[in-house]
Subunit: 295 residues, 2 copies
Amino acid sequence: MNFNDWLTYIQQRTETALESLLPAPNLAPDRLHEAMRYAALGGGKRIRALLVHGAGSFTHARPEQLDRAACAVELVHAYSLVHDDLPCMDNDTLRRGKPTVHVEYDEATALLVGDALQTLAFQVLAEFPVSVTASGQIEVIKLLAQAAGSHGMAGGQAIDMASSGQEITREELESMHVRKTGALIRAAVLIGARAGEGVSDERRRTLDHYAKRIGLMYQVVDDILDAQSDTATLGKTAGKDAAQGKPTYVSLLGLTEARRFAEDRLAEAHEILLPMGERAARLHELADFIAHRAS
Amino acid sequence: MNFNDWLTYIQQRTETALESLLPAPNLAPDRLHEAMRYAALGGGKRIRALLVHGAGSFTHARPEQLDRAACAVELVHAYSLVHDDLPCMDNDTLRRGKPTVHVEYDEATALLVGDALQTLAFQVLAEFPVSVTASGQIEVIKLLAQAAGSHGMAGGQAIDMASSGQEITREELESMHVRKTGALIRAAVLIGARAGEGVSDERRRTLDHYAKRIGLMYQVVDDILDAQSDTATLGKTAGKDAAQGKPTYVSLLGLTEARRFAEDRLAEAHEILLPMGERAARLHELADFIAHRAS
């Protein structure tokens, strides 16, 4: 299967799996369940799900196990978007080309949607065998929790809120993004690998190095797109970082340097994968996809 | 140990365990970690932790395992209080005798505190052996997730928001509270039992029946206290239900009937425990404590 076909195939598998894992919209409380589906279905590039599947190819994980692990990571990502968009946070009205959850429904519903999507992520990992062993399953849950919590994604968002309108150094910017977006992207790779038979420590380290480059690159490109692209292409409000006085790689390095920084990380990610040969083909292609995406 | 000494002993153990599980306040991001500790430490009757330990006495669970399981349940409870108090929800300013988190810090911080406390609950259950087997540990995680999610606590809160100012039947009121407060109380009992060697199906059913009575009774007493007590005693704003036009057992049944309803559930809970003999002594006493508490 070529990369584009695989991309579509995994995106569709993920959508189908999420469809069946999310509570039906006619189950009480209907409005909450409808809004959870609105937030989690029908959009997004599913980069984290792709990374779970790409990394899963190393360890003979069963595709259904990878589907569930991928859904759990995507549910955490979806919850974070709903909460980040709230008025007390980034106050955004557009996401994936649709009104944000608190605009389409209301703030209280959006708050509960995020809360319940996070819970569902852990519920999915506990209800289905997402690894070949029970201890592997527990490790997957641990990886997701560590990535999402106050030392990971939620902590990064706290630093992001505190740094709006502040001067920060490149090191501080990087430390924020390692948490805010990097941690969950890294977890997607490690979880994908852990869903199967487990990998050697050496291979795990290699995947971890790859994941860290990818996480950083994802964010730099995000900053470039925010500065360069338009709202219609992004499906979310463009130019928000500058409008909110948020420090970004573009505001700190300028566009040309930021682009070079992204390409350097891409080259590193490719190089890291070299010793893994053909089995790393999807991860190699995914790095290209993340670096050169248009939204 | 008499009941009052045991109560203090478990409350102190829980506080100490939470102290050590919560991130240190000087770890970055400091403000978030400080606020997480503000929300989760130094208050509350720890009824859910007491139920975990009370039910744990059946299955030879190690006390440290019960501590961690109890902390996870208390962390989910603490997260729900922080989010329920937000302006878009119940908009409350006082909790456990202190300003609520969004008043003491700010809304964005309170949102992230709730998010990160929920994650931490699952992280604790995945990082430490909270059951004698890995499959028991996974079941504990599943019980907590099912109780907290959209079919449990978060769903109950959604129904609560939707029912403000509405006429609802007694069945609808009960169905709301089974989710909003009952689900987590029930989970505390089942998790306590599951932390050890596992119990027979029959005993599990007995504990489940007990937990359901306790959950209902807890809420009826909560409604009575809101109507009858004062803010200083409760540590949270009294009379809020009536002020917000919320349907409660008191508004639906009147005070006398609501009190009788609570006493009937207490008598049932005691009766359910009878066949379990002496080992159920703590659960028997806990039922009394929940029924006759002053806040």
